[in-house]
Amino acid sequence: MKPRTADKIATTVIVALALLIVAILIGLLGYILVRGLGHISWDFLTSAPQKIRAGGGVGPQLFNSLFLLVLTLLITVPLGLGAGIFMAEYARPGRLTNFIRLIVEVLSSFPSIIVGLFGLLLIVNYFDLGFSLVSGALALTVFNLPLMVRITEQAFRAVPKQQKEAGFALGLSKWKIVTSVLLPVALPTIITGTILSAGRVFGEAAALMFTAGMSSPRLDFSNWNPLSPSSPLNPFRPAETLAVHIWKVNSEGLAPDAAEIAAGASAVLVITVLIFNLAARFFGRYIYRKLTASKRMN
């Protein structure tokens, strides 16, 4: 075959594959949105679900998903940044470091149902945290932490070595170089990693059924005392998230409009992820510009 023909065929195949993926994505998104958008209303977004009657909403579940995201990020981001920075800048290369890296990678590929059951045994029962947001956040940390560590490590490693040298030659301490020279450069990658790991929080169901629970107490959104059992801000209460709710309504929903609720909730979930993505990117770009005085994110 002539090289030119080979080139043409390869290009065609690659473009076709890319188009196929885009088509699948658009089809999937379109299907979810078309089926669900009609069901979304202010009432649907704010009211509590109904057990047997029609007309229930997903208010608490939506709130739970967002709150769980915040809690999980509160645990994962500092730990992941710390461990990633350690791996990239402080750990001496050697067997131990490689072993830690291997463990981190294995951890992130655990089946979520196993993590859920493990969380049930250890966090919910043994540590007696019960079905709660905290238990759920800790279980999600098992997936998210490895991702954060890896991405942070890679982001720091990708910063040109000369940046560090310049810092050293100015008489800066290593810590100062890490926080003020390297971190701003590594930030865009780290933000992408955070978004990726956040997507997992929104989408995860299996690991949360056994840790955050499958029910929500009656929440009083005017009660802002985090220690009160009916307060939405109480991290020690059970919390059914949107993804878990979709699964539950689909598999055992008794309400006559269960199918519509599942469709509506799916659309809400997809839109929430989308909004979060855009917001996080916007925020990241803003911070990056502030720190580096640049016009664009590179």
Partner: protein, 257 residues
């Protein structure tokens, strides 16, 4: 070796050897660096001149497996002695590399960063340091209207002068230059060379260069390195007109290396 260690300078190396593992990259070199002079380190690639330069402000510390023997004296203190405050030491010695490496920050912050870290908080004082450093690096007129812009938006030559200004911002006594002009166009190179000549009025400069004409143009003393050893050290005019060593002669004439 000429008069290498005849006069004791306040900045000099004494029998300095640098090892990477068991490989001896620099072999027992003694060199003085006099005040208000430019010393050029020349020699073929891999001759140890860059390693030698980097060791002068202990930049090799970070390379695992590198060890140092012998002494580097600055103002009567051996900087390789245990207990040396590396951070203080590096304030005295500025360094600029082959490839410009400005921080991913604004032009202003690139210069103000070091002084701020070392304790200058007063905004006016910082403004002054930024202006004077940029003036000393002959960059002020080109950037004074856009100090808040990203340093990465500057041209390569401007970036390199910015890096020199950044090194000057913490008021070093010594400036180490590792092929500072080899990535620049002829016009920028000319500017940087002019700058080096001006700066030597205030401090001492050690420069590694592959460009013989450059060494001849800007340096007062030249040291020729080969395979980790110092072959010849003397006044630049002497090295370039009538070197004692045959090898030096051949290298300078471009017949080898």
């Amino acid at each position: 070796m000429g008069t290498a260690a005849a006069v004791r300078e306040s900045f000099q190396t004494e029998n300095l050897s640098i090892f990477y593992g068991t490989y001896e990259a620099v072999k027992g070199i003694s060199l003085p660096f006099a005040q208000n002079t430019v010393t050029a380190l020349i020699g073929p690639s891999g001759c140890g001149k860059s390693t030698f330069l980097r060791s002068l402000n202990r930049m090799n510390d970070d390379i695992s497996g590198s060890t140092t023997k012998g002494s580097i004296w600055i103002d009567g203190v051996d900087i390789n002695a245990p207990g040396t405050d590396v951070i203080k030491l590096r304030q005295k010695i500025g360094m600029v590399w082959q490839k410009p490496n400005p921080f991913y920050k604004s032009i202003y912050d690139n210069i103000a960063f070091g002084p701020k870290y070392h304790g200058i908080k007063n905004k006016k004082e910082l403004d002054q340091i930024v202006e004077s450093s940029l003036r000393r690096a002959a960059l002020w007129d080109e950037v004074k209207d856009r100090l808040k812009d990203s340093a990465l938006a500057l041209s390569g030559g401007q970036q390199q002068r910015l890096c020199i200004a950044r090194a000057l911002s913490v008021n070093p006594q010594i400036l180490l230059l590792d092929e500072p002009a080899s990535a620049l166009d002829p016009v920028s190179t000319g500017k940087v060379e002019e700058l080096i000549k001006e700066l030597k009025e205030e401090l001492r400069i050690v420069i590694v260069t592959h460009n013989m004409q450059q060494a001849a143009r800007i340096s007062d003393f030249t040291a020729y390195f080969y395979l980790g050893s110092l072959v010849e050290y003397d006044k630049t005019e002497k090295i370039f007109s009538n070197p004692d060593n045959q090898m030096t002669q051949e290298y300078i004439m471009g017949r080898f290396g």
